[in-house]
């Protein structure tokens, strides 16, 4: 039976999550050099289009179709067959199946877009499109099925992931690292500072991410009620705690940084994602604080190793998602969500082991699969732009546009 309140909330949530991808375009676009703003934003926007089509054609089916061996969904929902105005009998049974499908579509979109933060300012646009198609198909859809699909092997194992700590953030973060390793550093990386072109744009992007994340996490309750409210409060609390923590860290070393604070808030949102609907709202405070500290030092570690994972998708999403998944195993309580489980604090240490297993499996699979797919694209069409194209900047060399016109022509 379709419930009007649940449907209204889920449709609004889908729209909120949609807005996160243009938000990400601003967030990433402000952090690159001025010759690569449009190219960086275009990566996210193009994926909004690309995955928007692929998801209704086959992505939803591979993720949520009838289980095949615990690893992938079947073809029963290809081209939205059997996905209509009536609810699914398995997923979100109080809203039209179409509403659940489009909510999930927005998750697939932003996950693919997140990966692009690692390869900005040097990856060929055509190669990115091909890679994104392969990655959605071979990495995102299987992992979404493992964790959220009915019969998925991690779901059966009892690993908890409320809104995508493993599915979205670990897959994106770990894949970003693998792809950056394959692609190599930007020309001049380490030798010259690469200054963000527009920090106000980063702040607006982060604000849109924070706003959209309420749809992401509270929407993942799939119902409009107490659970959505609990997830909403946990989400805001963690974002606030992590933002303040990062601000404090930057202040200890130098000055209170706004780029640092908004980065921290995003990391807090990442970490609470798997936990939001399983933990008490106040758990958002320790989850957010620890997430910021882990990501901060993860970023320093990445820089010391001279890896040009340019916008730190691994440190923010990979590490934040990992901590969030493990924290779910610590703070979860069936008093919050009867469909969840108790964690370590409630006396169930086994849940932590299950979370650890899910983290390990997704890390390993995402890294290896991405490395393989990236290699394939590299030997066929090539991953990188030419040296000259990189020097000129990708806005002009890949898109024939510039961000800011002037009087000199």
């Amino acid at each position: 039976m379709v419930n009007a309140g649940d449907t209204a909330w889920l449709l609004v949530s889908a729209a909120l999550v949609m807005l996160m991808t243009p938000g990400l375009a601003l967030f990433y676009g402000g952090m690159v050099r001025r010759k690569n703003i449009l190219s960086t934003m275009m990566m996210s926007i193009a994926i909004l289009g690309l995955v928007g089509i692929l998801w209704v054609l086959y992505g939803y089916s591979l993720s949520f179709g009838t289980d095949i061996g615990g690893f992938i969904g079947g073809f029963d929902f290809i081209g939205l067959r059997q996905v209509g105005q009536e609810p699914s009998s398995t997923y979100a049974t109080t809203v039209p199946h179409l509403a659940y499908m489009i909510f999930q579509a927005m998750f697939a979109v932003i996950t693919v877009a997140l990966v692009t933060g690692s390869i900005v300012e040097r990856m060929k646009f055509s190669a990115l499109l091909i890679f994104s198609i392969l990655w959605l198909t071979m990495v995102y859809c299987p992992v979404a099925h493992w964790v959220w699909g009915s019969g998925g092997w991690l779901a059966r194992l009892g690993a908890l992931d409320f809104a995508g700590g493993t599915v979205v953030h670990i897959t994106a973060g770990v894949s970003a690292l693998a792809l950056a390793k394959l692609l190599g550093p930007r020309k001049g990386f380490g030798a010259e500072p690469m200054e963000p072109n527009n920090i106000p744009m980063v702040v607006i992007g982060a604000a849109l991410l924070w706003f959209g994340w309420f749809g992401f996490n509270a929407g993942s309750a799939l119902t409009a009620g107490g659970l959505a409210s609990s997830a909403f409060v946990a989400t805001n609390t963690s974002a606030a705690a992590a933002g303040i923590t990062w601000m404090a860290l930057s202040w200890i070393y130098r000055r209170p940084s706004i780029l640092g604070m908004v980065t921290g808030a995003v990391v807090g949102l990442v970490a609470i994602t798997p936990a939001a609907g399983f933990v008490p709202p106040l758990a958002g405070i320790p989850i957010g604080i620890v997430a910021a500290v882990i990501s901060y030092y993860g970023m320093l570690f990445r820089m010391k190793r001279s890896i040009d994972e340019s916008l730190d998708v691994w440190a923010c999403h990979g590490l934040g998602g990992t901590w969030g998944a493990l924290a779910t195993g610590i703070f979860a309580s069936v008093a919050v969500n009867a469909a969840g489980a108790d964690g370590v604090i409630m006396g169930n240490a086994m849940q932590f082991v299950k979370q650890l297993a899910a983290v390990g499996a997704v890390w390993g699979f995402a890294f290896l699969a991405t490395f393989g797919l990236g290699k394939l694209v590299d030997i066929t069409v090539g991953l990188r732009v030419s040296k000259t194209e990189e020097t000129v900047g990708l806005d002009i060399s890949q898109h024939g546009e510039r961000a800011y016109g002037g009087v000199l022509r």
Binding site: S257, L259, M299
Partner: protein, 112 residues
């Protein structure tokens, strides 16, 4: 005729402009420039870690004056641009062959 090119602190522009006005020199061209010198740069931060920016924002004032006014104008600019700290800027004096007022076609001293 001489061209006076002065690199100055941004915040000194208004004072210099008024002082030149009082001396009878109304016309000038101002450009936003970046420069490095004894003042050094500034250290900024990324999400983690920091980097150094050597070039600081300055203004460049250009005006062409009569030979006999050069000393007076150098005094006016120096006195109003000075703070005594590193970074006050520099003034250059450059000979000019000719000048033309576009509206009337007047040349030489009459054009300035």
């Amino acid at each position: 005729m001489k061209k006076i090119e002065a690199i100055i602190r941004e915040e000194k522009l208004d004072i210099i402009r008024k002082a030149l006005d009082d001396t009878g020199y109304y016309g000038m061209t101002v450009t936003e420039v970046s420069g490095r010198g004894k003042q050094g740069g500034v250290t900024l931060q990324w999400r983690v870690g920091e980097y150094h920016v050597d070039f600081l924002p300055k203004l460049k004032i250009e005006l062409v004056v009569l030979d006999e006014d050069v000393g007076k104008i150098l005094n006016v600019i120096t006195n109003s641009a000075r703070t005594g700290e590193k970074g006050d800027g520099k003034i250059f004096v450059i000979p000019v062959d000719n000048a033309v007022r576009v509206r009337t076609g007047e040349e030489g001293d009459n054009a300035i």
